[in-house]
Symmetry: C2
Subunit: 112 residues, 2 copies
């Protein structure tokens, strides 16, 4: 368990946002999900940079969807969290859940 690599806060959120719509999101989907669920506005730069890093770490992948639909013409990327990504997410969640549990007195119940 030595060199476990932890997810940064934003990385974690991005990964989660990718999965939110069925683990096949476009850049726009992601930023909308982030804005909705985390009340967090991100710039394109921030988002794509993070997406790239996540891929470099093998936690995420994408395929190019040749565009001939809707707005027709432009290809766009569809992102998918990999197995490793899901695993990292689980670990991260479990750690946080533990910690929150122990601080519950002050933080208040998780449910609310």
């Amino acid at each position: 368990m030595a060199t476990k690599s932890f997810l940064g806060e934003f990385e974690q959120m991005v990964l989660l946002a990718v999965m939110a719509g069925g683990n096949d999101a476009s850049g726009v989907d992601i930023s909308q999900e982030l804005e909705r669920s985390a009340d967090r506005k991100v710039s394109k730069g921030s988002l794509y940079t993070t997406l790239d890093r996540l891929k470099k770490k093998g936690l995420l992948n994408w395929r190019i969807e040749p565009g001939d639909i809707a707005r027709s013409g432009l290809p766009r990327r569809h992102f998918t969290v990999t197995e490793r990504g899901v695993k990292a997410l689980r670990e991260s969640r479990s750690a946080l859940l533990n910690l929150w549990r122990n601080a519950e007195d002050v933080l208040g119940e998780a449910g609310g």
Copy 2:
């Protein structure tokens, strides 16, 4: 809501660890809690650096406890999460909870 500042992953965990034992932890308490609940081993350097930064941001405070106890007459710091710290933690938790909820299909239930 403009310049909301988000907690980094580690900062968050440290804050949580401080509260775990009643919001009055020593450096050692914190690193033990981190190790126990998050299965995460941290060096003194990492820990104290983060603690300092957290204080600089007003999310944490400490007082020096003059040492007069048994084997260690050394003074040590006792850390406490501030109101703002608790607030930041709550926000962070709520965002993550939302995101997790939407990704539940793949991550599995939160309860476990």
